[in-house]
C-alpha cells in the first residue's frame, strides 16, 4: 500500500514536472495568462473610471471584480491542460502509460500552481491600482488559496471533459462557468470579510466543502472520462 502511494506520487510528480518544463520552454501559459489578466485589469479600470465606482463603494465592488478577473483569466488558460494533449495527439501515449488518478493529480497540481502564480501577479497589482485596503490578511490568503484551488480543480475536470469532446474554448466556458460560479461567490464573500476585517467568515466552511466535493468528484470521474 505505502509502495503504491510512493509510485503514485512519482507519477504525479513526473506529470507536474513535464508540464512545467514544457511551460518554461514555451512560456505560453504564464506569459499570456499574466498579460491577459493585466490587460483585462486595464479594461476594467477604464470602465471603472467611467463609472466612478472605485471611489464610492470599494469594499463591496472590488472583491467581485478581482474574482471575475481571475475567473476569466483561468477560463482562458486552463483548458489547455487537456485540450492540448488531445489536439497534439499526445493523449494516446499518455493514456497508454499513466494511471488516470496520478495523471489527474499531476495536472491538478500544475493547474493549481499556475492559478497561484497568476494570483501572485494579479492580486498585489489589483490591490494597489484600486487602492483597496485589506484588514485581515490571513482571511484574504485563505480565500486566494482555497478559491484558487477550487478554480483549478473544477477547471481541470471540465477541461478533461471538453478535451474529449474535441471542442473549443467556448464550450469550456459554457460548461465550466456554472460549475465555478458557486465557488466564485463564496470566494467573493470571504474576500469581502477580509476587507471588512471579519476574522472567521462563515462562507469558509462552504468553500472547503465545495473544494472537497469537487476533488472527490474529480478523482472518481476522471478515470471514466479519460479512458474509453
Amino acid at each position: 500500500m505505502s509502495q503504491d502511494i510512493s509510485i503514485w506520487t512519482t507519477e504525479a510528480l513526473a506529470v507536474f514536472a513535464k508540464e512545467w518544463r514544457c511551460e518554461l520552454r514555451t512560456g505560453y501559459a504564464l506569459n499570456t495568462l499574466g498579460l491577459f489578466a493585466i490587460t483585462t485589469l486595464v479594461v476594467m479600470s477604464i470602465s471603472l473610471g467611467h463609472l466612478g465606482i472605485a471611489s464610492t463603494e470599494p469594499t463591496t465592488v472590488l472583491p467581485v471584480l478581482l474574482w471575475i478577473l481571475l475567473l476569466f483569466a483561468v477560463s482562458a488558460g486552463l483548458p489547455r491542460a487537456f485540450v492540448f494533449e488531445e489536439e497534439s495527439q499526445t493523449a494516446i501515449a499518455l493514456r497508454l502509460s499513466a494511471r488516470p488518478s496520478s495523471l489527474f493529480c499531476g495536472k491538478l497540481a500544475y493547474s493549481f500552481s499556475v492559478v497561484l502564480a497568476l494570483e501572485i501577479i494579479v492580486t498585489p497589482l489589483f490591490l494597489t491600482l484600486m487602492h483597496l485596503k485589506i484588514e485581515t490578511m490571513p482571511v484574504l490568503l485563505f480565500a486566494l488559496v482555497a478559491g484558487g484551488y477550487g478554480l483549478a480543480a473544477g477547471g481541470t475536470l471540465v477541461a478533461a471533459i471538453i478535451a474529449q469532446a474535441r471542442s473549443s474554448t467556448t464550450l469550456f466556458s459554457v460548461l465550466a462557468l456554472p460549475v465555478l460560479l458557486p465557488l466564485l461567490v463564496l470566494a467573493i464573500e470571504i474576500t469581502r470579510s477580509a476587507v471588512a476585517g471579519d476574522p472567521a467568515p462563515i462562507a469558509s466552511r462552504q468553500l472547503l466543502l465545495y473544494d472537497g466535493s469537487v476533488t472527490i468528484a474529480g478523482l472518481l470521474l476522471f478515470p471514466a472520462v479519460w479512458n474509453p
Binding site: 507519477e11 518544463r21 514544457c22 520552454r25 514555451t26 497534439s88 501515449a93
Partner: protein
C-alpha cells in the same frame, strides 16, 4: 488457453460500429508468445480500428478481449498500461526533445533510467532534437522506442515501417525479432517488408 505461456491475447466476436457504419463484425483471433498475428485488409477495412480496440483505446460495442501474462489475467485498464503500441496517430510533445520525451514516459512506466538512451542508440535517433523538428522517419523511430520502452510482452504495430529508410527498417526488424523471443505481436500494414515468424493471419476484407 495457453495459460502458462509468457503472454497470450485472445479476442472473440468483436463488433464495432461508427454511427451506422459497421466496421468490425464478429472478429476473433488470438496470439501468444513468439507469434505474430498479421492483420491484413484493404484500406478502410478496419485494421487500425481493431488495433485500437485491442490496445484499449476504443471500446468495442460487443465482444471480449482477454489478456494473460504467465497465467495471470489482466483487466482492460491493466492491459492498456502493459502493452506496447505504435501507430501513425501516436505523437509526442513538441516542446521536449526526443530524449526528454522518452525520459518522461520512462518515469511514468518506472523503467530503468538508461533505457531511453539505449533505445535511441539502437534506432540511431539524435536524442537532442526537439519533438516538432523531427522528420517523419525520425518520428517513426521515436514511436518504436516508445513502444518498447517498458519491454512489453505484447506489441501492437500499425504501419510500423512507414517512413523508415533502409537502416531504419533493419533496426526495427531486429527490435521486433528480439521482442518475439518471448513476446507476441499484432501487426497491420507492414508494407513490403518480410516479417520474421509470421504465424497467423487475420484478413478483415469480406
Amino acid at each position: 488457453m495457453a495459460l502458462q505461456s509468457p503472454v497470450s491475447l485472445s479476442f472473440q466476436g468483436l463488433y464495432r460500429n461508427f454511427g451506422r457504419l459497421a466496421v468490425l463484425r464478429d472478429i476473433s483471433g488470438s496470439v501468444s508468445a513468439g507469434e505474430i498475428l498479421l492483420v491484413t485488409g484493404a484500406n478502410g477495412s478496419g485494421k487500425s480500428t481493431l488495433l485500437k480496440c485491442l490496445a484499449g483505446l476504443l471500446a468495442p460495442d460487443l465482444g471480449s478481449i482477454k489478456y494473460w501474462e504467465v497465467g495471470q489475467e489482466f483487466t482492460t485498464a491493466e492491459r492498456r498500461l502493459r502493452l506496447g503500441y505504435a501507430a501513425p496517430d501516436l505523437s509526442f510533445y513538441d516542446e521536449l526533445t526526443a530524449e526528454e520525451n522518452l525520459d518522461f514516459f520512462a518515469r511514468m512506466r518506472r523503467c530503468p533510467t538508461q533505457r531511453p538512451r539505449e533505445l535511441l542508440d539502437r534506432v540511431d535517433l539524435p536524442g537532442g532534437r526537439m519533438g516538432h523538428a523531427l522528420s517523419s522517419g525520425m518520428r517513426q523511430r521515436l514511436r518504436w522506442c516508445w513502444a518498447l520502452l517498458h519491454r512489453p510482452r505484447l506489441l501492437l504495430l500499425d504501419e510500423p515501417f512507414q517512413n523508415l529508410d533502409e537502416p531504419g527498417c533493419r533496426a526495427a526488424t531486429q527490435l521486433l525479432e528480439e521482442h518475439l523471443a518471448n513476446g507476441a505481436a499484432v501487426v497491420a500494414n507492414p508494407g513490403a517488408l518480410d516479417l520474421p515468424y509470421v504465424t497467423r493471419h487475420l484478413n478483415l476484407d469480406n
